[in-house]
């Protein structure tokens, strides 16, 4: 009983894969809080090398989550808001949790139609 259609899943898979890494999640969070930034800025305060940051940005860019643009000698990176909004897939995640919980309460009640701790008359 899939909550998302196959096509949607297929479409969302690269996003989840891209976000399934702590460094990349941090990058997304930094870009979301600080706006467009250079690789040097994104590297500040991390223990990750510029090369590694660049690699991660490329993975995020491939998933359509960020985009880079040249500004002088530096490239600046920013979030791709449209794609991030699709992290309505975030709502899919929560939505699936409610599907599971509603199925669970239904099973629970229908297996015990009379409440065990019923009031005594």
């Amino acid at each position: 009983m899939p909550a998302m259609s196959g096509a949607r899943l297929k479409d969302s898979a690269p996003i989840f894969a891209a976000l399934g890494d702590e460094t990349r999640l941090r990058l997304v969070a930094r870009l979301s809080e600080g706006g467009p930034q250079s690789i040097a800025q994104l590297t500040t305060g991390t223990f990750v090398t510029r090369q590694a940051i660049t690699k991660h940005l490329v993975v995020l860019a491939d998933a359509g989550l960020v985009r880079g643009s040249r500004s002088g000698r530096e490239s600046r990176w920013e979030l791709e808001p449209q794609r991030i909004v699709e992290v309505g897939s975030y709502l899919d995640l929560i939505s699936q949790q409610w599907d599971r919980r509603l199925a669970a309460i239904k099973r629970h009640i229908e297996a015990q139609p009379e409440a065990k701790a019923g009031r005594k008359k």
Binding site: G20, L25, S32, V87, L91, S95, H108, A117
Partner: protein, 154 residues
């Protein structure tokens, strides 16, 4: 029956039992815990902040906390929480919460139970991303399912 916008999720299910029975399963903390997969530390009452222990494998370290808003017997049960698994080392008290409302309606076949979670538009992006990070294990399973699906449809 499903309704989704960016701010809310709404789901319904028909349960073959009277409203009184569904109400008990929702508001008796122990019964709630049975189907929800949590061990609440206190009873449910209006205004109560109830913490608990999550029983799902792999999530045992995450805190569970709800603040109960309304309890209108056999009609409406609502509470607020943080809609992402919480990191025990962070103080979330000033961050926005979402509202969960369970409504019960009598139907010929039993009780129509509807849950609405709303307020997502106020949840910061970084917290949304956190949900993915924390749900990593869940997603690992999901990814396997995707793989299986893609292989089947090749």
């Amino acid at each position: 029956m499903t309704m989704t916008s960016t701010d809310r999720i709404q789901k319904s299910t028909m349960i073959s039992a009277p409203r009184a029975r569904v109400w008990r399963a929702l508001t008796d903390a122990k019964e709630f815990g049975t189907w929800f997969g949590v061990e609440p530390a206190g009873a449910f009452a209006v205004g109560a902040r109830v913490q608990g222990k999550i029983l799902h494998k792999g999530y045992e370290d995450l805190p569970f906390e709800i603040t109960i808003e309304k309890m209108e017997p056999e009609k409406l049960f609502s509470f607020r929480w943080h809609p992402y698994p919480m990191d025990p080392s962070i103080d979330y008290s000033k961050e926005p919460t979402t509202l969960i409302e369970f409504t019960l309606e009598e139907a010929a076949e039993g009780t129509m139970l509807t849950v609405t979670e709303s307020g997502f538009d106020r949840i910061p992006l970084a917290r949304r991303a956190k949900a993915f990070e924390m749900n990593d294990k869940g997603w690992a399973g999901q990814m396997k399912a995707i793989d299986a699906y893609l292989n089947r449809t090749k």
